[in-house]
Each structure stands twice: as C-alpha cells, then as structure tokens.
Subunit: 325 residues, 3 copies
C-alpha cells in the first residue's frame, strides 16, 4: 500500500512501527491460512516471537510498500515465517529492501483459545533446510525461556530530571484496546502492540537527542501473554545505552484487564529498540551520551554495551564473509 | 489485508465503500508505475472514471481481501486498469470473486498539476485486444461528456417528510479533507471519495427500508473535477428508484474550497448506487416502494426504472449467451 | 456519520470524545466558512473555548450521528457557534438529542498564524439576541482570564497506591501530533485534543470503579495555547471528587515542542470531566468514594463538591422553571 503522511514523522520517514505492523499482518495471514489447510479444528495463528530485525533503508511518504511472506519451517506447534519488505518509488521505479523479518506463530483453536493445535508439516526442497530450521527453532525456544524470567522490572517516575539522564527521556502511554486492534479470537494483534512500542521508543529517543530519529533495529520480541479486548495497556520506555551514533531503548508492555476480570496487571511483552539520529539531509548525527545515575542504570548501560558490541562483531563477521565470497 | 470490524456494518458485511477504496488504491499504484516507466516528467495517475461494477458476493469481517490489477488498454492520455477482488476465508480456504472493476486514470505532471502527460503504450498479445480496448475507450469518452451536462442538480431539505418518500431518507454528510485523504499532488484520492459516497448511500438505503443493507452495484462514476486538500466536501444522497428487491440512490459530491481560493462551491462527482436489503440470514428482502411526490421525483423514478430494466436485459442476454456456449 | 465499533467502548456506548471531536469539526467548518465569506485575508478558525456541555443520552454503535451547527453571535474577533448532535437509530427511526454545545472560535490568518483577523458581523433577527450574545461573550471572556491563572498544577506519580485513592486511578498518555491531527495552519484541532482528554478521563474513571463508564458532562474548556505539528503532548488525569453516582476528573494537556524549537514544555489546556458508572442494563451504579490523603487532595475534593452542588442547584432551578411554564 501507499505510505501516507500519517505513517511518517515530520521529516517524511515512515515509522518503524508502521512497517512492523504490516509485517505482522502478512505473517498472521500466511500462517493462519497454512494451519487451516488441512481438515480439522479451525484456528487463528497468534504471534509468539519476532526475531531481531534491522531497518536497512528508510521508507518515505508516497512510496509503495511491497510485503511478501513465506513459511520456512514448521515444528509440531509452531510456524516460522520469513517476511520481506521492499519499498518502491513508483515515480522512478527504484526498489530497495527495507526489512527482512522472521516471525514465529502458534495456532490457537477458535473454540478454545487456550488450546494449541498441531501444525501441518511443510515439505522441504532439501534436507539441510529442515535441519537449519530445526536449529533456529531450538535457539528461539531457549531464548524465550530466558526472557520470561527477566520480566519483573518496572519503570519508576523521576521528579525534575536533568537532561540526558534516563529519567529525563523515559515515557509511557496508555491505550484502550478496541475491536479493530484485535483478531477473531478477541486478542490484540502482535503488530498493533509493536506499533505502540515503536511509538514510545521513538518519543524516548527524540526526547533524548531532540532531532529527527528513525528506527534502526528491533531485538527479538517474545509475546508471553495474550492481551484481551477491553484491556488498558501501558507501554513504557527508557533509554538503556548510547553509542556514538545510536541509542538503545527498552520497552515494556503491561496489560490491565480492569473491567469484568479478576486478574491483576501483568507484563505482556518487552523488547529493545535501537534508534539513530538523522540530520535534515538524512546523515547520521552524533548522539549525546546517556548519563547514568543509579547502580541499576549503570548495570543496564553495560548490558546494552554488551549487546551493541556483540551485534557489531556479528555484522563485521558477515561483511568479511561476504567480501571473501 | 484482513477485514476489521470498522470496515463492516453491524451484520458483519464489509462496506462496499471499503472495497471501492482498495480497488482504487491498486489501480492508482499500477497506473502511476506504468506512466513513470519511461524516462520523462514524473507524474501521478489521477482517477478519471470507474465503470459500472457489481458486488458479486459479500465479504465479511476476518476474511482476507486479495486485490489484483492489470493494465488492459492505453490511449494517448489515459490508462484502463482491470482490478479483481477476491475474498478468502483463511480458516476454510474458500475463495470467492467479490468484484471486478474497470478504472480509467490520467497522468498528471508532478510539477504542474494541470498538465496531462503522455502514456507509454502497452503491447497487446493479439490485435483484437487493442481494438476492443479502443472501442471501450470511445464509449466511456462519450459517456463522460454526457454526464458533465447533467450536473447542476441540488438536494433540498424537506420538513417533516412522510416515511418512504424521497425526502424521508435523503441524507448528507460533510468531511474536511485531511492530508491522509490526498495524493502526492495534494488532491483527494478517488477511493476516499467513493468510500464517503457509499457511506451516504448506505444511510439513505437503511433509512428507507430499516433493515440490514448491502451495496449491490455502482454505476459508472466520472470524476470531472479534482478536490484539493483543505476543502470541505458535502456528500448528499437521495433515493431515485425502487424495484421489488433493490433501491437506486443518486449521490452528489460538492467541494467547497472555502479557504485561500476565490472559487465557488462546485460539483465534483455524481453517481448511482444500487442496494439490496438482507434478512439476518443473508436472504434478500422485499423493499418498500418509493413514494414519489413532485414531477421531478416521478421523472427520476422513470429514468431509474429505465436503467434498471436495461441492466436486467443486459444480464439476461449474458446469461443466455453463457448457457448457449 | 455511522458510529463504528472503534468509536465505542466494549458495552457499545460511543465515547464522549468521539462526539466532542465531531462537534468541534462542525464548528470549525462553519466558522472558517463565515470568516472567509467576505473578501480579505484568508483565515482558519481556531477553537478558543467550549462551554460546559451535558451528554443527555448515550449513543450506540450502528446509530447515525446528525450534527448541525449555527453561528449565534459574533464579536469583533470571535465567533460563537451552537452545535446540536442528534443520534438516530436508522432501523427504528428513533431520534434523540445527545448533546448541545456552544463553542468560541477565533480567525487566524493563513499567512501569519499570530495575527487575529476581524470577524464579519452577523445579522440578528431581534435586538435581544445580540444583547444576550454579548452577555455570553463577556462572561466567557472573564472565565478565560481566571482559568489562565490556575494553570500551574502538575500530577505527581505515586508508588504502590491503595485502591480508591487519587494515586491509584491517575493516568497519563503521550501522543505524537501527526498531520491528520492538524488544521491547514499546522496546529492541532481542538477536537483531537478533547478526544484524547476524554480517553484519559475515561481510563481514570474505569480504573476507579472497574465498571462500564460513560461521559456525563464536560465543564467549560479553554484553549490557551496552540499545539504545533510534531509536538509530543502529555495528557494526564486525576480524580478530584466523587458523589454517590458520579466522578469528577481533572485533565491536563501539556505540549512538548521537542524537535527544532527552543521552547519549554507548557500547559495547553485543562478541564473537568464528569463520568457515571453503568450496569450492563445501562442503569446508573453507585460509585466507590474517593479516598483523599494529602491536604491538596482534600482541598480539590471540596472544590469539586462545590462545582457539583452548584450544577445540581442550577439543574433543579431549570426543572422548576420548566414545570411552572
């Protein structure tokens, strides 16, 4: 579809959240279709995880987004989908890869939302494809277990914070979940949640550096808990790390089923977003260093630095590999 | 994309206007891409006309709409696009043709909106394709000239109207044209206008028969005049004709460029929509007869009857032809 | 237009904010049209104030909202508009008055947004109409000056609050102002701001009483400061008073022009919203009493009680008057 002014920031760059939402919708369609392809209980595919994804080039107002999706692996209860997004300038015909994302979906029964159904197996062109898929499946399973344990953290408000501290840029929004945010099962689309997370992360980044900012990448996101229609969700973000040219923001999503449910507020999702700051000509700008004050902030900064260096090393290894080929 | 609650009426049937908007977006993308395929002045394709289109089967919330578009003819200054819409139930895998539409676009220069550019010719597999296209081109050209003359009519309000009269169900809405309604040139997308027209026509139909109603077909629509960002548009509808099972509604779109333009309010588009009334089980219901009072209403009723009988005769001829093959 | 699922809460009642947004759009259109009716500098009417308005009967999904607007007074630099909203059930034909609102607009030059233009005078059928309008004009002018002074208050966060305290239900959201939120001048529509205010107030009310809640009335709102495209706005709400069957919530709107503006965060609007709690059958429910803890909270509770008793007295006087006629 054509990108509109409402999909973009004031500099004309499409929000990463808009792209994440399109990616998730494509993934939900292809995996729901696949899981219902054999006779059996009807089901809806629910997003369980998005792998780390990089925004390779910015998309602009007036460009057309081409989204294509393919099922690349199936385990007994989950589907791996690869989604590619290309931006096309229909005036010049130029096309660019914007995004490659890998998503994991789980089929939930339409009659009983707590029942996970079996996934019809796909056929692989080569045996290695299946083996590699299985390896990816095991890796993400492990990672999901780990993040589940980390999930108790809360963002506390700070009174009169100094510029460039964590408290200065931290932000949160609340959103009442409406019918158009939800699947047939009455649960929020993963893509809607990711769009809100990107919105908060973007405001944290802009508050910190007061320039035009764009999403550079999103770390793996695990969807531990479903969020039901009528819930109020609180999306909060705080900056955890800055390098010379990038900012890492941690985002939490908490759900509050406050009408006709006996349940307490719970953590539904958390993730790390990386942003860069751009000049009016679209060149990367230096980012002011994050001032850490408490022990927790210093620890999170070091952890963020670890993730940053790890990603950088991985990228350099890939580039060397590519150069040698 | 997946159909959401906001795309549909309370019975779950997707509004004809939502489908028309998707059709027009697909047509605008493919024709803008084609017109920019050769080096030259960049341009945006503007909708000039939509041929009569039937809604063959209703689409429902949760279904996926598949829209495909193909360029079928090019004249020197216009492009004919054929758009097909299929609804897919991704739970059962069932697919149905919802709609086949033919649209005409004209390339306008990005630098000077009043300059119509030349269209790169397409290649035809067979000579007959070109000849048939040329015939369609001449026909629509003639029809556009005719409607241009009819366009002076105004809908006047009626005080305390009786049920089933024209005055009883006539309706209008106003809409302030915002940035997301517009193309790169700052003019309203034809699809946005058609969606509003369908909304008004639907309210007229529901007021008349007080049941669940759905769009059955739309007569050819000609876009005579562009509508600029910042305009207020008034969309008005009145019933012109009822058969036993259908209602014909005439819809006018008037634009009011009331800020920073010296221009008077003008008629931008007009069209006829046909609606049917459905029971809760989706079966067609009888429609109360329209009570005509004035001479003009009686004349419009007869004209509507003419269009109705003509369409019916055409359809029967097609069915006979199909039966003989 | 027809009320859609996204316009309403899970019980099907249309959000007060959706109605306020429609009212403001109608007011902006009629006053912009009036102020441009004479040759002169083109201008856009900006919302300066909304008088107290009651929501007389709830509107539901599937109903059609009829909005009509009329200019009732003009001063040298401002326009008073009366807007009426009727809900119409198009299946039964039943119509109900939902809302009567009075709004004040000021014409700002399209070329220089800081220049207030002169308003063409309207003609009055009777001299008393002009005199009464002038009285209303003087009254609102006085009230605007007063509220301007009150505007320094801030909502501070509370850690681990008890149920039914002020801290327990207080809420805030952030919103990045996009192009569709704005007028031709690049400033937020008053209606967009009111919709966000109602959203926050509704979440405060629902958190307090954990039932289905609806907007009962909105006190006069003054728009002291414009909010520019690209700003982040923070909308915060806290409960100030509860009677047996109603809750009063104070809402603040702060604007943060954080990109390419040297300006500090500022208070743009503040207002009081009154909500009632409804059972599933739509009957009013008792509201849990607000627990006040600090001196400020106790003072605000007393002030809220004052407003409540004053409104009640006014309403009783009107009813007596009506009974005597």
């Amino acid at each position: 579809r054509i990108m509109r002014p409402d999909d973009a920031n004031i500099a004309g760059n499409v929000h990463g959240g808009t792209i994440l939402k399109m990616i998730e919708e494509a993934g939900a369609i292809i995996s729901t279709r696949h899981c219902n392809s054999q006779a059996g209980e009807p089901c809806v595919a629910a997003l369980a995880r998005v792998e780390r994804t990089d925004f390779l080039s910015p998309m602009c107002i007036g460009e057309v987004a081409n989204v294509s999706a393919e099922i690349t692996y199936t385990s007994r209860h989950s589907v791996e989908v690869q989604v590619n997004v290309m931006s096309e300038n229909i005036l010049t015909g130029a096309k660019k890869v914007t995004n490659k994302a890998t998503l994991w979906y789980v089929p939930l029964s339409l009659k009983n939302v707590n029942k996970v159904l079996e996934v019809p197996p796909i056929e692989y062109a080569r045996k290695e494809q299946e083996d590699e898929g299985k390896k990816r499946y095991e890796e993400q399973k492990l990672d999901r277990l780990e993040t589940k344990q980390r999930n108790g953290d809360v963002i506390l408000p700070v009174i009169n914070p100094e510029p460039h501290t964590v408290g200065y840029s931290q932000s949160s929004l609340i959103h009442l979940v409406g019918p158009s945010d939800c699947t047939l099962l009455g649960f929020v689309h993963g893509g809607v949640t990711m769009k809100l997370m990107d919105e908060v992360a973007g405001i944290v980044a802009a508050r910190h550096c007061k320039t035009n900012i764009v999403t550079a990448s999103v770390d793996a996101i695990n969807f531990h808990e479903k969020i039901k229609k009528g819930c109020v969700i609180t999306v909060s973000g705080r900056m955890t790390f800055t390098s010379n040219k990038s900012m890492e923001i941690e985002v939490f999503v908490d759900a509050d089923p406050f009408v006709d449910e006996p349940r307490e507020r719970y953590r539904a999702v958390s993730a790390f977003f990386t942003y860069v700051s751009l000049s009016k000509e679209g060149k990367p700008l230096p980012v002011p260093q994050l001032l850490t004050e408490t022990e927790d902030e210093k620890r999170r900064f070091e952890e963020g630095k670890g993730r940053y260096l790890q990603t950088k090393a991985k990228r350099q290894a890939q580039m060397q590999q590519a150069a040698q080929q």
